[in-house]
């Protein structure tokens, strides 16, 4: 199996994760499930980036996508944490009857 095909498989798996994550971010109702789907979406994008960086012939890979994924990981973690804070705040406001609409 050539390097190109192997990295294409990784990129294909990443694309599958992206689509699954994107669909479920929109369709799922519970905020926690939306956050998990968003993380799956992010992991798919990181896979595509790293697979793209591994396409160079030879042993070492292109370091620029690796750097992008590193910063993306930390940003994704803090974005998830922020989303969790908002979700918890939303739930506590919901139980306290603060929300105005009759949403789910």
């Amino acid at each position: 199996m050539t390097v190109g095909v192997a990295t294409l498989i990784y990129a294909g798996v990443g694309a599958v994760l992206v689509v699954i994550g994107a669909y479920h971010v929109i369709v799922l109702q519970h905020p926690l499930r939306k956050l998990v789907a968003l993380n799956v979406f992010g992991s798919g994008i990181f896979l595509i980036l790293v697979a793209g960086g591994a396409r160079t012939p030879g042993s070492s890979a292109d370091p620029v996508p690796h750097a992008m994924v590193l910063t993306g990981l930390v940003v994704a973690v803090s974005a998830t944490a922020l989303g969790l804070v908002l979700a918890l705040r939303l739930e506590s406001a919901d139980s306290a009857g603060e929300r105005g609409d009759a949403g789910p």
């Binding site: 750097a67 590193l70 803090s78 804070v85 506590s92």
Partner: protein, 223 residues
């Protein structure tokens, strides 16, 4: 007409189209010859005087992106901040029933040492500021969950913006010295990168630990 089901069906159709577009784009991309910056980075590596190409890319060639990323991290930490501090500290279940107190206390020093070594080694080998920051956040979490630290995290307000502040100071100092923002003088580039990385690791640890404490405090208050 069930609104939710119609929306789900529409999103499924759009997702399938999106999937097809992704597959087409990726396969056409993969058929083209690989263009990579690896050789360019390797050629410029002696100029930046660090051995790890990822570190050089993150802090030298793409340093501006990393600066903006520290700003984003600080924003996330600030958005969670109103719940940290004394209110959160009182609501957290400390010590956590899942972490043994004595084991936790023994773990903290090795974790901090690992973080420091990953940070230092990251100049020439795999490692660096972000990895060290994540490990340092783990040390803060163990510190909190084992019941070793009961009061709020010390120095959080001061240390969280430190990465951004140090990066900006270095950037403007380089502007004064070489006429380019973040254009490091090549004689001191390795030392400047290490300074920024140390500040970055501390700040990332503090921000991530603060986010954890916010969530643990909210959850603790509701439990």
């Amino acid at each position: 007409m069930n609104y939710r089901r119609v929306t789900a069906a529409l999103v499924a159709i759009i997702s399938t189209l999106f999937a097809a577009l992704l597959v087409a784009t990726l396969s056409s991309l993969w058929q083209q010859p690989a263009q990579s910056l690896r050789d360019a980075v390797q050629a410029a590596l002696p100029e930046s005087r660090v051995g790890n190409p990822v570190t050089a890319v993150l802090l030298d060639y793409r340093g501006y992106d990393t600066l903006l990323e520290f700003a984003v991290l600080l924003l996330a930490g600030l958005a969670a901040a109103p719940v940290t501090g004394r209110a959160a500290a009182s609501a957290m279940r400390i010590p956590s029933p899942y972490v043994d107190k004595s084991v936790g206390r023994l773990l903290i020093a090795p974790i901090v040492l690992t973080a420091a070594s990953v940070l230092w080694v990251g100049a020439d080998a795999p490692g660096g500021a972000f990895q060290a920051g994540a490990i340092g956040a783990a040390a803060a979490v163990v510190l909190r969950l084992s019941g070793t630290l009961v009061r709020p995290l010390p120095g959080q307000q001061l240390l969280s913006p430190m990465a951004l502040a140090v990066f900006l100071i270095v950037g403007f100092a380089c502007l004064a010295m070489t006429g380019a923002f973040l254009g490091y003088p090549r004689a001191a580039v390795r030392e400047l990168i290490l300074c920024i990385e140390i500040a970055a690791a501390v700040s990332v640890s503090m921000i991530l630990a603060g986010l954890f404490e916010t969530l643990y405090g909210i959850a603790g208050r509701r439990a």
